[in-house]
Amino acid sequence: MGKLSDALAVLDKPAVLAAVQEGIEAGTDPLQLVEEARLGLEAVGREFDKGNYFLMELLRAAQIFKDAVALLTPKIKERYGSAASRGTVVIGTVAGDVHDLGKNIVRDLLQCNGFEVIDLGVDVPAARFVEAIRQHRPKVVGMSALLSAAVTQVGRTVEAIEEAGLRDQVRLIVGGGIVGEVKRNMLRVDHATTNANEGISVILDWFGREQA
């Protein structure tokens, strides 16, 4: 790992931004700098999995990463036209539930991994998910659920997507604390997890496979 990723791994924002600036001035490919920052983020993820970092550090790392990318975006546009996206993911917390901490972390991590994320916010009615699928044609729809009442709501959302005839166009993934405490078959989605990193790698997998 280089200077940039090392600085991100220890959450040193000034050093990260300085390394990005240096890279830009030295004419380094901005996409390479993004990749280096992403390696730093991965290191943070590993420390998180080992229990050395906690949620707040994960949140902080994603924030720093986003600040670094903000510096790089104009350079990427200059060089490559528009910033290439890996694809589109729609995400939201289901109706009746306003918890968004976990959803936002997943959103940030997806963005860090080069996805375009349409964030529908919290308390999102089933119809709004359907509408967003029609409008944005995502490959993946992510739902977040923390209340026990939200489990039923995930079911309703899945039904609405089926009724709209859109179920075979999207993969569905759901996360949030409650998911770990109910039987998986209650959820009727393609994947359920209480771990953001796992969710991201499943989604990466889905996109990889479909491209192949």
Binding site: F54, M56, L59, Q63, V98, L101, L147, A149, E181
Partner: protein
Amino acid sequence: MKERLSCYERLELAWNLQEADRVPVAPVNCYIIPYLAGISIRDMFYDPDKLIAATIKAREMLGGGDNIDPNITTLNHLSMFGRAGWDQATLDWRIWDDFPPKGNLPSLFEKALIEDYDDVMERGFAPLLYSKNGAQAIFTRSIDEFLYYEFEYPKVYAAAWRRFVEEQEVPLLMGGRACHPLDMLQYYRGIANLTQDIFEQPEKVKAMCDWLVEYETTMAMRDAMIMGAGEVPGAEVIFFVNGGPPGMSPRIFDEFYWPTAKKMIDIFVTRGFKVHCHWDNDLTPHLETIKHMADGLPKGKLLLDLEKTDMKRAKEVLGDRICIFGNVPSAMLVYGTPEEVDAYCRKLIEECAPGGGFILSTECETPWDSRPENVRAIVQAAEKYGWY
């Protein structure tokens, strides 16, 4: 077998780290009460007599318990200004007639209202909360109504609960409630902003936390006095919620959470109150710090109510210092069976009850949509396995 104690005596012994006749059992039943008794959230909030009748009915359906939650959040919700984070600004100000899916519960969510810590420390919360930006809906209410719910209604509410305690001989879970400053900042600044502030302007966050200590403690003690602290059993208890934002590292916990938490606890106890620390999230990594909670304080004044924390570990680290309370998972109450609840409680009692200092309860609170037979199973488990 020892002589059967009153609910209050049983709880007192647990707070004092002594074995009672049996393990006290106290599920935190809140919105499940109006739900089961068939009254609306509106009635629960505005008609204390209906709430009390509903409470008696629901207690029968749920098998009782050694205390009762008087839902002080009602007063906080109806109040004019910032009250332990649960107020006009952070509450979805719709007092519903129906439960989900047709309606909802009063729901709390964060709003990034604070932009400038210095401004709050200089001018206080009122200008921030009592603004169009803070709480649109409050401008549809009349000033008369505001003043009534701020100053008169708490007395009406307290009188109703005093009657309940006298007639039912069941003590209150609390008389007042306070939030930790980091919790307040989570509501009023947003967790993403707060995280950034902790890393980028740590001294400001600490100063703001210090400023909030007096603000929060005073209001909680005022509520408890109105509820009859010193006269009405249980009203002397301050419910100190919520344990800060999820996912603090030990460094952040020790540096930002702990100093103000301990300061607030000391203030409450010094002024004659007891403190029920209702601390959510998995605090297992912080137990070595938390064990200093009772340092310098008389015995029997503190209780630690845990949510996702490892109870067995908590007993090992804190057992000889602080009474612990918890933690039947909320999802189990909704989706599990009475047999699962029974097994979970039995294990909790085996691990945490020996020597006293344990109260069997729910994780955070009983979800409104819990199966009543599951809640009953908690109370029955104390009767089955809890005799000392």
